[in-house]
Structures are given as C-alpha cells and as structure tokens.
C-alpha cells in the first residue's frame, strides 16, 4: 500500500520532467551568438551612418542581416538549430559585407584627409623652404662679408708683422751700423793698439750681432750691437788721449824734421838736434865771425843778410808756434866777466835783427852764455864763438 502511494506521488513529478524536457530551449548556436555580438559592435552601427554612395547598399545589407538574425533567433527558439545556424551564417556574411563597405568609406575618408594634409604640407613646406633659402642666402652673404673682414684683418696683421719685422731689421741694421762706425772711429785712433781689450770686445760683439742679424734674432742683435758700440766708444775713449799724444809727437817730429831739413839748406848755418829733458831742440849754429867783428857785439854791416833766410824760416806758418832762444857763446879762453855781456849783447843784436825782419818778439828770447858749453878746443877754439838760434818743441 505504501509503495502504491509512493508511486502515485512520483508520477506528477515525472510528467513535469518529461514536459519540461520537451519544451526546454536548446543551447544557442555559436554562429547565432557570433552574429549577435557582431551586430552589437560600433562597426555594425557605423555601417548604418554612411553618407556616400555605399550608404544604400550598406543599409540594405544591415537590414537583411537583421532580418536573418531575427529569423535565426526564431528558429533557435523553435529548436530548429540547423535553420537557425544557416540564417545566422548568412546574416553574419551580410553584416560583415556592410562593415566592409563602411571600412572602405572610412579608408577613403582617411585617404582624402591625407591628400588634403599632403597638399597643405606641400604648401607650408614650400613657404618655409622659401624663407629658409632666403635666410641661408643672407647667411652666405654675411659669411662672405665676415670672411672678407677676416682676410682683411689677416692681411693687415701680416703687413703689420712685416712692417715690424722690417722696422726691427732696420733698427738692428742701424745699431750695427752705429757699432761699425764706432769701431771705425776706434780704428782712427788705433784703438786696436792702444785699447786692445775694449777694441777686441767691441769687434767680437759686433761679429755676434751680425750673426744674430743673419739668424733673424733682431732683439739679440740689437743688444749685441749696442754693447759693441759702447765697447767701441770705450775703446775710443781709452785710446784717444794716447793716440792724440802720439800723433802730436809724430807731427812735431815730422815738423822738426822738415825744419831741420830746411835749416840745413841755409848757407853758413850748422844744424843739430838734441834734447834737454822733455824739450827737443833744433839748434841753428852760426859762427860768430860770420856776423860780428872780433869782440864786437853789433852785427857787422853787410853781414846781416845771412839772417834773412833764418827770419823767413822762423816766420813760416808751420814754425810760428816754436819758441826760439837766441843764445850767444864765446870761447872760454878769455875774461869770463866780459864774455857773458858780450855773448848777451851779440844775442840781442841778432834778436833785434830778426825782429826787424818781421819775427814776432814774443817768440824770441835772447841769452848770453859766455864761455859755457864749448864745442871745440885747440885750433878750432874759435868755433866756440857762436850764436845759436834754438827752436824748442816737445
């Protein structure tokens, strides 16, 4: 009994299960799901918003696809899965067709936009390029100008350097010339002899200056030339007094030689040269008998003529500076007290005679030596009576 009751209570449940199994919706085909998803995409929506010639076919395709979608859903709901799948696949093909048309529209729009952009860019590029070309041309000109200025500066700098070089060279040459001149001046006073050290130093330094000039070392050459000139001047300063003295002595000697030679040509005059200390003497010895009568102090008339060439000689320009002594001598064999006045008087007589012939009185000094300084003895004692006209020099 219990079993029968239990069997009766299960029966409605089983019936309900059978009914529910018969009316249950079958799983949706994947093709239908794919179509539904595709339809929900923005691409599908965009296919309905076209504005080109493709708008009409695209709209028709979407519409057809929508109808197929609805049909597929109906067929699915009525459990006709094959029909549902066929409709979904066809709907998907049509919808994808419409989307492809929309994609074409979009691509064409992008192409048009790109073409417009290219045109705009080409215009702008041309404009900017034109500006750039103009600026570059200006830069080129400015560069040329700057380059020309640089070249000008370079040339001026080179010229300045050349000028300075020439000036340095000229200044160096001048200094070397000055040193050479100083050295030649030193040569004129025979500094090589009288100031050997200074002269040698000057010559060596000058040679060094010339070598430095050849090497282009102008500064060194100038310094060496200055030193050489200074050394040469020192050599001149050192040698000059010695040279002057030597020259003067030589001149005096030469003049004395000439005077001696000329005096020797005078008839009746004996000439000799001697020295008394630093004084040099040219002595014209005239025997007293040629001018004076024995023991007389006045020149015998007619004998004064022999004094003419002596006066002429004394008045010669080159001998005018010679101081002259006129000294009377006598033979010492006599009364010494009378000899001195006699010899003085005779000397004065000759002095007077010479002065009367134009000899400057300031140059002439008369003196009597009496019997001093005899020059002979024996038979020639008479030679001690004499007048000596003495030219003095140093």
């Amino acid at each position: 009994m219990i079993k029968i009751t239990e069997g009766l209570s299960i029966l409605p449940l089983a019936a309900a299960l059978v009914l529910s199994q018969g009316c249950a919706l079958k799983p949706k085909p994947s093709e239908l799901e794919a179509l539904e998803k595709l339809r929900a995409t923005p691409s599908a929506a965009a296919a309905l918003k076209l504005k080109s010639a493709r708008a009409k076919p695209a709209t028709a395709l979407v519409k057809s696809s929508d109808e197929l979608l609805a049909r597929a859903q109906d067929k699915w709901r009525s459990s006709d899965l094959d029909e549902a799948t066929d409709a979904a696949l066809m709907g998907k093909a049509k919808l994808m067709h419409a989307i492809a048309l929309a994609d074409q529209d979009g691509a064409e729009q992008r192409i048009r936009q790109a073409d417009d952009d290219l045109n705009d860019l080409a215009d702008e590029q041309a404009s900017v390029q034109k500006d750039l070309d103009a600026v570059n041309e200006t830069i080129g000109l400015l560069n040329q100008t700057a380059q020309a200025k640089e070249e000008q500066k370079s040339i001026e700098a080179q010229m300045e350097a050349d000028r300075k070089l020439a000036a340095d060279k000229s200044e160096t040459s001048d200094k070397i010339s000055a040193a050479e001149l100083a050295l030649k001046t030193a040569d004129t006073v025979q500094a090589s002899t009288y100031a050997k050290a200074e002269y040698a130093a000057a010559a060596d330094t000058l040679a060094r200056a010339q070598a430095e000039l050849q090497q282009g070392n102008f500064r060194g050459a100038q310094m060496s030339a200055d030193i050489a000139r200074k050394k040469a001047e020192e050599a001149v300063a050192a040698a000059q007094p010695i040279y002057a003295e030597k020259t003067k002595a030589d001149d005096n000697r030469a003049r004395a030689d000439t005077l001696t030679r000329e005096a020797s040509t005078i008839a009746g005059v004996e000439v000799r040269r001697d020295a008394r200390g630093a004084l040099q003497r040219i002595v014209l010895m005239i025997p007293a008998e040629q001018l004076f009568t024995k023991k007389q102090s006045m020149i015998t008339p007619g004998r004064e003529a022999m004094l003419d060439p002596i006066a002429t000689l004394m008045k010669k320009k080159e001998y005018q500076n010679y101081p002259v002594q006129i000294v009377g001598f006598a033979d010492p064999h006599g009364n010494p007290s009378s000899l001195l006045p006699l010899t003085l008087a005779r000397a004065q007589s000759v002095q007077t005679a010479l002065m009367s012939r134009g000899v400057d009185s300031k140059r002439v000094m008369a003196a009597g030596q009496g019997g001093a300084e005899p020059i002979s003895g024996g038979k020639d004692r008479n030679r001690n009576n004499r007048i000596e006209i003495i030219f003095l020099y140093q």
Partner: protein, 139 residues
C-alpha cells in the same frame, strides 16, 4: 497505335523528374565550381591577407555543399551556395577595404614623413635665423 502513345507518355511522365534532378545536380556542380574558382581568385587578390579566415570558411562551406550535392540534398546545397555567394561578396569588399586601408596607411605615413620634413625645415629655419642674427644680420 493509341496503346503505344499511351506507353510513351507514361514513360515520359515517369522519367521527367529524374531528368530534372540530373539537370539540377549539374547546375549545382557548376555553381560550386564557379564559387571555388571565385575563392581562388579572391585569395590571389588578397595581398593584404585580410580575409584568410573568411576564405577558409568559404572553402569549408563549398566542401559541405559538394557533399550535400553528392547526397542529392539539393535544397540544402542551394542554401549553402547562396551563403557562399554572400560570403564571396563580403570577402571581395573586405579585400577592397583592406587595400584602401593600406593605401590610407601609406598616405598617412607619407603625411607623417612630410610633416617630419616640415618640422626639420622649420627647425633649420629657426636655427638659420639665430645664426643670421649672430652674424650681425637683422632679426
């Protein structure tokens, strides 16, 4: 005589559906082969490789259509061949869209290139102006 005519008509009546079915099979075969040729042509056109999957689907469906034809399920064959035609039309337009898209991309690339050149030219112009001023030229 009448009897012969009656037999002939009877035979003809009996053979007409068979003849009609044979003609439909040939027609479907031609449609399927045309579609295969179309698929091959589309594949050659698809230089952007934009419709590879769709072409696979197309070929799968054509094989199915051929099988259905072999089973003489002609109505189902027509359903599939109609879908293949729609698929082929879609693929054609998809290839065209891909070609246009590639052309657009090429143009956009060209635009980008030209824009880069323009930017460089503008920068060069700016630099040139600065150089010009530095050389003593007017701004």
């Amino acid at each position: 005589m009448y009897r012969y005519a009656t037999c002939f008509l009877l035979l003809a009546t009996l053979s007409l559906p068979a003849l009609a079915r044979a003609g439909e099979a040939d027609d479907l075969q031609r449609i399927i082969e045309d579609n295969r040729q179309t698929a091959n042509d589309l594949e050659r056109l698809d230089d952007q490789k934009a419709a590879g999957m769709d072409l696979n689907d197309l070929r799968t469906w054509l094989d199915r259509a051929w099988n259905l034809r072999s089973q003489e399920k002609y109505d189902e064959v027509r359903v599939v061949t109609d879908r293949c035609k729609a698929q082929a039309d879609m693929i054609r337009e998809k290839i065209a869209a891909a070609k246009l898209g590639a052309k657009a991309a090429q143009k956009e690339s060209e635009v980008a290139h030209k824009r880069a050149i323009l930017d460089r030219t503008k920068k060069a112009l700016q630099n040139a102006k600065v150089q010009k001023i530095r050389l003593g030229g007017k701004a």
